[in-house]
Structure formats: structure tokens, C-alpha cells
Symmetry: C2
Subunit: 289 residues, 2 copies
């Protein structure tokens, strides 16, 4: 990775509570250096390139990393919203991460990514110190074969970032013309993990939450211009639960509810290999007919 | 409503494309005056008071109104995220609404609500000029009796804001101790409209999306401290579809997926009386015990 021109003061690990793997492309891609004015500098990473600009998930992970690594950080992420306002050009970018309000057990963040004078991405995050309470999961872990029983998905023609994930589809691959038209829905189930394997943490989970292809290309099996406009992730797992997951694949389930007038929503659940709901994530995607 | 001390320059209608009903409490509650520095001043409204501070839905609607009424506004809302960072005291508040990026057909907003030096609420919004495309709704309109066949919900002991809604529950009222414990889930279905009736627009729809009680009190039928921390709404309807809804009740369906360590999520669908999906909305709620 080419480091930006500014003199680095600190290089973050991805999360001080987690193991940092400096050689992993994910850790390289989300690395930030702190500048004298408190802003951060990062750099696009070729391993996470998408069709145009970087994979949105790596941008989300980098913005979250800016808050995770901030000296005033309180607690762990509960919610993260990322708005993809404009394209990110290959090269360095600036991140401003501000804790706009810190309460006794919660902290609210406002984060922007800019290049030159242009804001490319905005984000907000809620962090919290979490305490043990009554708990329950109302939705069920689906009946699926284990990751090892499935083949890794084909990646010919797919953008670079997909090489950094091991995806094994149970159902709902994109561009599947073998399904009869009346069976088509936008529902996907897949096992996914970082490739090479990497212990799960908030940063990698934030990226995985944006790894589901636009549902329009599952529902209608041919390519159309499409991309995430805004994504919101709710983290149900705390740091110990993520750590317990280790390098194993997580199960992702994604589907849309409505397509219309150039935008569709999609919602995803991310389950641990042990059947714990780690995160739910929602996004709105633009698409062209 | 007491107007704030600053000299008002302009009073917004709620949405220039919609009919403005100056006497309706919703329109009074979201009214804003533009200050010389471009900021806006609003004021809490007693009709939308909650247990502590204002009903979150009216705050969301007011923040959206700040973007809707901005002279630089482009298009209509597609996504709105509101983070409730701290309490809002009774009295005036300041809103700063900034279009951080305007593209050819999309516009990204950053909005904050503050009192004195403290930020109480942050928001982001995506607006877009929408165009006709292929469309489909994957989820179905549930089988429910019409609003007229149901009684208006009881409001004894409920906070003031509930008096401004006509809610008719099909299932999932809060604090329902009549259901056997094994039947308990967090799923609610209800018809809801503004009271007194008011034509639906983006502002009132944004408020309705936060009108679902915390799911923890549906799932476990007794009161606990709980409140929305962050809400994200995706608007599937455009302005003409909302206008066609008129003053009729909309159908709201809400449920949680996971409760744990002090936070639970919940997701809602809002359907028109004609069976069109108007919005989907997601939030994370803190709860105690």
C-alpha cells in the first residue's frame, strides 16, 4: 500500500480489543494515520477495488475504524450508518471522526470521508457500553448445509474485492439463469469469511454486512448498473462473541422487500457458525432498469 | 405554540409539494423559522410530548422538514437516519441542515438538532429525483380486517403524543397479559393515521415510522425503560403515491429480530390502504432489565 504524503503520527490497529494482523489485506485497507489537526488519512487499496471506486464494505469498515481507534472512544459499536455520497477516487482520502455527544454509557459519532474539497462518504455511529440483560432471538437460524459441504463461489469477471472473501452459496447467486422465472426471488443464503482467513471483529463484520450483491441482480439474473446508497448495520454481538467466532465462516441471509422508481431496499442477517445472530443490516440500493 | 425569541424570517410549510394544514398539530410541531445565519429554529410542542422529551417521530419529522424546506433541496427523500443522541428539553431548539453533496439526481444531507452547546439529535438523509423503472414488492400485504372494523386503541396512561394518532390494532398491543406466554412474540399489526386526519406526506410518514412502541413491551408485557437510539427509514413511495393515500389509515407491521445486552432491533413496514408498500423502517432500541 502506498502511504499518503502526510507524515503519519500513529498507525491504528483495527480495534484495540482485537488481534491485529498487519499483513492481512483488510487491515492494510482500513489502516489510518492521524494528522496533526486530528484528522485521519487513509488510502484506497487495490485488493478491495470494485467496478467503480472501492468496495462499499471496505469504506464502511474504514469509517468505523476511525471511531474505534479514536482516543475518546467509549464502548463498542451498536449502530453504523454509511451514506455513499459520491465516488472515491483511487488514492489518499481524509477522514474526520467526531464524537458529537458522549453520555454515561453511549456515544454518538459523526464521520466524513473527503477527497480535496468534496465529501465522498458520510457516516454516523452509536457506540455503547453494553450490560447483561434478558435476551432472545425471534428469527431462526435457517436450515443450511455447513460451509465445508459447499464449493467456493465462482469469481470470474467479478471485481477485485470478491477475491478477499470466501463465499459459499446455499441459494441466490447472481445472474442465475438456470432458475425458472416463477421461482425468482431476491433471497440469498451464503457462508462467507475473509480470505485469507482472519478473526472476526467489528471492522470485518461491518465490511461483510455490505458484501451482499444488489438484490436486483439476484431477482433479475442479468447485470444492471446498481450500487448501495446508504447502509445501516446493527451490531447484536459484543466483542467476546465476535472473538469466539474466530476465523470461521458466518452465514449471511439477504433479501429485498421492494424495488421501484430506481431504488430497492435489502436486509441481511449475519449469523455465527454457532447460530448466534451477530448483526442485522439494511440498505437502499439505486439501480437502473 | 410559543414561538422562539429569534425573529422569524420564513415559516415553512411541511413540504412545498403537499398541502399545508397550518392548524394541524403535526404542522405546528414541525414548523421552523429560518435565522439570519441560515440555521433554523423550532420549538417542542406539548401535543407530541413523550414520557421524557418529545416523541422521537416528531423529531425525525422536524429534521426531515428542515431538508424538505431548504432552498437547495433536490428531489424527494429516499432514506432518513436519525440518531437520538441526548434528551431534548422543552423549549426552542436549533437545526442546522446542510446539503453536504449534491449530484445530478441525488443529494446527501447532514442535519443536527442542538440546544445551547449540546447536540441532541443528528440525522442524515438521501434525497433523489426518481425515475420510472421495473418494480416489484417481494413481501405481501398481510390479511387483516379494514381499519373501520376495529376499535381505536385505548390510550389511558399513554404519553400525550399517542392522542395525535388513531391506532387500531390487529395484533400486538403492548402490555397484553391475556396472551399465553408461549404465544408471545414482538409482532404488531395496526392501522394508524394522524388524529385529526391529515393528508399523508413525507413528514407525517417519517413520524409514523417511529410510532411503533419498543418491541420489548410487546414481547414481555410490562413496562421497562426503553427508547429508540437510531432509526433509519427507506421511502418507497414518491409524492404522488403519498398524495393518493389522502387521510386514510396506513397499515403498520413491526417486529424485532434480536434482544440482547440492553439493545434490540425492530423493523417495520408501512402499507397504504390500497396495499402499496410506502416505507420500510428499522431501528435500534435500548432497554433496561
Amino acid at each position: 500500500m502506498n502511504l499518503p504524503a502526510q507524515a503519519p503520527q500513529t498507525i491504528f490497529s483495527t480495534d484495540t480489543q482485537m488481534q491485529h494482523i498487519p499483513d492481512h489485506p483488510l487491515d492494510q485497507a482500513v489502516a489510518l494515520t492521524r494528522n496533526a489537526d486530528g484528522s485521519l488519512t487513509g488510502h484506497t487499496h487495490p485488493a478491495y477495488a470494485n467496478m467503480v471506486g472501492p468496495f462499499g464494505g471496505i469504506t464502511a469498515a474504514t469509517l468505523l475504524n476511525a471511531a474505534l481507534g479514536h482516543p475518546s472512544r467509549l464502548g463498542d459499536p451498536v449502530a453504523l450508518t454509511v451514506n455513499y455520497a459520491g465516488p472515491i477516487a483511487e488514492g489518499p482520502f481524509r477522514i474526520d471522526a467526531q464524537p458529537v455527544r458522549t453520555n454515561r454509557s453511549t456515544q454518538h459519532w459523526s464521520i466524513t470521508l473527503s477527497q480535496g474539497e468534496e465529501v465522498a462518504t458520510t457516516a454516523s455511529a452509536v457506540f455503547a457500553i453494553r450490560r447483561e440483560t434478558w435476551s432472545s432471538t425471534e428469527t431462526g437460524f435457517p436450515e443450511v448445509p455447513p460451509a465445508q459441504a459447499l464449493e467456493r463461489g465462482q469469481r470470474q469477471g467479478a471485481p477485485a474485492w470478491t477475491n478477499n472473501y470466501d463465499m459459499r452459496f446455499v441459494r441466490g447467486v447472481i445472474f442465475d439463469t438456470s432458475r425458472p422465472a416463477e421461482d425468482l426471488d431476491s433471497h440469498s443464503e451464503l457462508w462467507i469469511r475473509d480470505e485469507p482467513p482472519r478473526p472476526l471483529d467489528f471492522v470485518s463484520l461491518a465490511a461483510i454486512c455490505d458484501s451482499f450483491f444488489p438484490r436486483i441482480m439476484v431477482r433479475r439474473p442479468y447485470p444492471v448498473p446498481a450500487g448501495t446508497v446508504s447502509i445501516t448495520t446493527y451490531f447484536h454481538a459484543d466483542a467476546p462473541l465476535l472473538a469466539a467466532q474466530g476465523e470461521r465462516s458466518v452465514l449471511g441471509c439477504a433479501r429485498a422487500t421492494h424495488f421501484g422508481r430506481g431504488y430497492h431496499d435489502q436486509s441481511a442477517e449475519i449469523w455465527s457458525a454457532d447460530g448466534a445472530l451477530l448483526a442485522t443490516s439494511h440498505q437502499v440500493v439505486y439501480y437502473k432498469e
